[in-house]
């Protein structure tokens, strides 16, 4: 990269492309926002206009409200904005998730958003997009994070459900309401045809997935059948429902949680669930390294999560790498806790960090 202004840079509103005068996944209201996917830490309302990949528009409309103006591009379709040409390419994260390719005078940047390389029946597979600069997520950037296949995890979930059924217990599986829940329903559809019960927060998103033609197990909403015997049933609920009065009806249920964090025994025990299923919509360590290699990028900028680790490792491997500070929350924040723009982190804004990766970054105040 030469001394010119980088094509995309962090600002206090989010990642900004000056040559096109737009933001990518801004965390404050802006004029034009390009959105990688509909999770709360990437899609925030209040901007004047939005542009996203067409398979994700219905989810985005739901997230942002009916009055938000959302324009769509098919995957691969190019559009000129200001001095740049942009296009959206499948990221394999959730339905409609996209990497954003930006080309400016022959220079290509790709902003990955969140992505994964493992097959997922609910969304288009990740597409490798060659580029000069690759802005990658880094949620799980340690070699301890290696995912088993989704199919295998689905079989584990089914075994757990069967065991609980045999012993007359309900199974309550906590999954993020957007993406993970539907992925589980779709993976399980290959193994059984039993109905699954959904928490009210999961139902509308699942309907949108069905409308998009995703095949999943039949579902019913829990609230419609409050006084029934839950023994033997599988219930899918967002993690936020754990420990709430809503859970009382499932007395004696076995609880499980689907997340990449469940790879670690300590995380599993800390959260107090009976079972942890290692299922993530983010790239694991081999997935990150493979993707970075395949894009052929000369420079890699890492966002959220353990970006320091990835940056340092890449540098030691001779790859030019840096960290980009953003407010993306990764697997913990996705679709759950939206970050209050009034917090100190947002007020402090974001800054590009090219410092040595061994020292931790902290917000300038």
């Amino acid at each position: 990269m030469d001394a010119r202004q980088p094509l995309v840079r962090p600002t206090d509103h989010g990642l900004y492309c000056a040559a096109g005068d737009f933001y990518i996944d801004p965390w404050r209201p802006v004029g034009r926002a390009l959105i990688t996917h509909a999770h709360a830490d990437h899609a925030r309302h209040g901007s004047r206009s939005y542009l996203a990949a067409s398979p994700g528009v219905s989810l985005l409309q739901r997230r942002l409200g009916a009055d938000s103006r959302i324009d769509a591009l098919a995957y691969g379709e190019r559009r000129r904005i200001g001095e740049v040409e942009v296009s959206f390419h499948p990221a394999g994260h959730v339905l409609g998730s996209a990497q954003i390719r930006i080309e400016h005078r022959g220079e290509v940047w790709v902003v990955s958003g969140d992505y994964k390389r493992d097959p997922d029946p609910t969304c288009a597979p990740f597409e490798v997009v060659p580029c000069n600069t690759f802005v990658t997520e880094a949620t799980f950037s340690l070699p301890i994070y290696v995912w088993p296949s989704g199919e295998r995890v689905a079989r584990e979930i089914l075994e757990w459900w069967d065991l609980n059924r045999a012993e007359g217990r309900a199974s309550v599986l906590f999954c993020y309401a957007l993406g993970k829940a539907q992925r589980v329903l779709a993976e399980l559809a290959g193994l059984t045809d039993r109905s699954v019960f959904l928490h009210g927060a999961v139902t509308p998103l699942t309907k949108l997935y069905r409308r998009a033609g995703i095949e999943m197990l039949p579902t019913e909403q829990v609230d419609l059948r409050t006084r029934r015997d839950w023994a033997g049933e599988l219930v899918i609920a967002p993690p936020g429902a754990a420990g709430t009065p809503w859970m009382r009806r499932f007395r004696g249920a076995s609880t499980g949680f689907c997340s990449g964090w469940m790879r670690l025994r300590g995380q599993r025990r800390r959260r107090g669930f009976d079972r942890g299923f290692v299922l993530s919509d983010h790239a694991d360590w081999p997935g990150l390294l493979r993707t970075i290699r395949e894009t052929g990028a000369e420079r890699v900028l890492a966002t959220h999560g353990q970006s320091d680790t990835l940056v340092r490792y890449l540098r030691e491997q001779g790859v030019e790498a840096g960290a980009l500070e953003t407010l993306f929350a990764g697997e913990d924040g996705a679709a759950e806790a939206s970050i209050d723009p009034g917090t100190d982190a947002a007020a402090a804004g974001a800054s590009i960090s090219e410092r040595g990766a061994s020292t931790d970054r902290h917000e300038p105040s």
Partner: protein
């Protein structure tokens, strides 16, 4: 080992006590008695001498998995458990090949513990490394984790010994308390031992075997005993000593001193050992070891006793400086008969008679005669100046029960000392607190500097821990390996039981049992206490 790995996985995958007991019972019933014996050993929390140090394991891991040392360290910090880090990194290492040590997957638990692991003991450094890394490569992650845990001596399974006893008592059809007693003290995990454990009658009474300890429940510091406990006359009151709880056994011509942690420490306290030899054959005392100089009115502080704890054979000079004596408060066995079902009052009377002519190193823990609650409450208020932790309140007619049975025995400690200190460092915890910053260092002011005074790990609610963890990540000034230096902004109220001089700490003081009492978000760093104020606490304590 495969069966044990499955059991471990089952125990780990449920929070239900019933399910855990059922899983253990099924395991004990299905594996050969030799493996079952070792499983009881491991599950009930017994551990063997560590065969390999953590530093060595980390070094071997780094060489075996091929990642840079810092990345291995970062991974370890995220996982919070070395054996698990090893299992995860070895499973993911690109050159990982299963099955290169054919058959190692099916080595039994007993063979691991009796043959494979002990073989490391006499091996030289290089072959130790080769052996262990070959196991890591050949074993599946679950077994690699367990083998590594066993070789560091540190497998914790998360089942209490009472739960293991419950599973075994169901299998043997004997009461749980009986099984708990059979699991006490010294035993060798062999097939014969396991078969004896399950026998209807206890064939081999081992003279050194202690009874399970009866544990008191805490009474709130500000409780009103007349409301909580009723009539003063139903209760016996004594000081809660700040020493080491010990069960002393006089049987078979020998004597044995067991700590609460079931460590046999007889040889460490020769003066007490000699005094116990004067007791008649066949008696067992529940008691407290205290550092106490002849003629003194009260015990030396616990920090003095600490000098004796680690010393296997204390020298003459140390024994003179820190003489140890025993204060007995209960009699569990007399003339070879188990007295535990008898009322406490009766046991105490016999105990007093027994100790009538005992040497000074063997005393009777006195009863407090304050005959109503108000005067007893007044006596308790003098605890700190007497160097005791508060009061023990025991029901006169109580039997000596097993474990923490509520209702008959209460410990009524005095309010702890407190100070307000600033958090300056944070470190990630281990186990279930891994990858969360939960271990904090606190400092107080000395002029314009903050001087560390205590480390504390406990006291915050889970939600507070998560919130503080986020704050720490955003306010890190510098990282030193796993430790983060944070902006000195957050103030915490620390509670602690006592304070002593310490040459090892920069502040010159050491706090006893420091823990976090409250996160003082209402205070700024300048509101925290100064070192002078802390030292005043120390002087106040000494003046009394």
């Amino acid at each position: 080992m495969k069966a044990f790995a499955r059991l471990y996985e089952t125990l780990d995958a449920t929070n239900s006590t019933t399910a855990r007991v059922a899983a253990m019972r099924a395991y004990f019933a299905s594996v050969p008695p030799r493996d079952a014996a070792w499983a009881v050993y491991v599950l009930s929390g017994r551990r063997q001498r560590r065969l390999v140090g953590a530093a060595e394991l980390r070094d071997w891991l780094q060489r075996a998995c091929g990642y840079p040392a810092w990345l291995v360290e970062d991974s370890y910090a995220a996982v919070g458990d070395l054996a698990e880090t090893i299992a995860l990194l070895m499973a993911a290492a690109p050159e990982h090949v299963h099955g290169c040590d054919a058959g190692v997957d099916s080595v039994s638990l007993a063979d691991w513990l009796e043959l494979r692991l002990p073989s490391l003991r006499d091996a030289d450094a290089e072959s130790r490394q080769q052996l262990v890394t070959a196991w890591w490569r050949a074993l599946d992650p679950a077994q690699a984790f367990l083998v590594t845990k066993l070789l560091t001596g540190g497998l914790r399974v998360g089942v209490s010994r009472a739960l293991v006893a419950r599973a075994l008592s169901g299998l043997a059809d004997v009461p749980q308390a009986t099984m708990q007693h059979r699991l006490m003290g010294r035993w060798q995990p062999t097939a014969t031992w396991f078969e004896g454990l399950l026998a209807a009658a206890d064939a081999r009474a081992e003279p050194s075997r202690p009874y399970p300890f009866f544990l008191a429940s805490p009474l709130e510091a500000d409780a009103d005993p007349s409301v909580a406990l009723g009539q003063r006359g139903d209760w016996l009151a004594e000081w809660k000593w700040d020493g080491i709880r010990a069960q002393c056994i006089r049987r078979g011509g020998e004597c044995f001193i067991w700590t609460r942690g079931e460590e046999l420490v007889t040889e460490r306290y020769p003066e007490v050992q000699a005094a116990l030899q004067t007791l008649p054959e066949g008696c067992v005392l529940d008691s407290e070891l205290l550092a106490w100089r002849p003629g003194d009115r009260q015990a030396l502080p616990f920090s003095a006793l600490q000098r004796r704890i680690g010393r296997l054979k204390p020298g003459k000079r140390l024994r003179e400086e820190v003489p140890v004596r025993l204060l007995a408060y209960d009699l569990l066995e007399f003339a070879g008969a188990d007295l535990r079902a008898a009322p406490l009052q009766e046991r105490r009377e016999r105990l007093a008679g027994l100790l009538d002519d005992a040497p000074p190193a063997l005393g009777l823990s006195p009863l407090l005669d304050a005959d109503d609650w108000p005067s007893l409450t007044e006596a308790r208020a003098r605890s700190r100046e007497l160097g005791v932790e508060g009061l023990m309140l025991k029901r006169h007619d109580s039997p000596y029960q097993v474990g923490r049975a509520r209702g008959d025995w209460w410990k009524w400690k005095i309010e702890p000392l407190t100070l307000d200190a600033v958090m300056i460092y944070a470190q990630a915890g281990h186990g279930r607190r891994a990858s969360l910053y939960t271990d904090y260092t606190f400092a107080v002011w000395q002029d314009e500097d903050l001087v560390p005074v205590a480390k504390a790990y406990s006291g915050l609610a889970d939600t507070e821990i998560v919130r503080l963890d986020r704050w720490i990540r955003k306010h890190t000034l510098e990282r030193f390996g796993p430790v983060r230096q944070v902006e000195p902004l957050q103030v915490f109220e620390l509670a602690f039981e006592g304070i002593a001089h310490s040459a090892r700490h920069r502040s010159g003081v050491a706090l006893r049992f420091p823990r976090i009492r409250r996160w003082r978000e209402d205070l700024g760093p300048k509101d925290a206490d100064s070192l002078a104020q802390v030292q005043a606490l120390l002087e106040g304590q000494e003046r009394d």
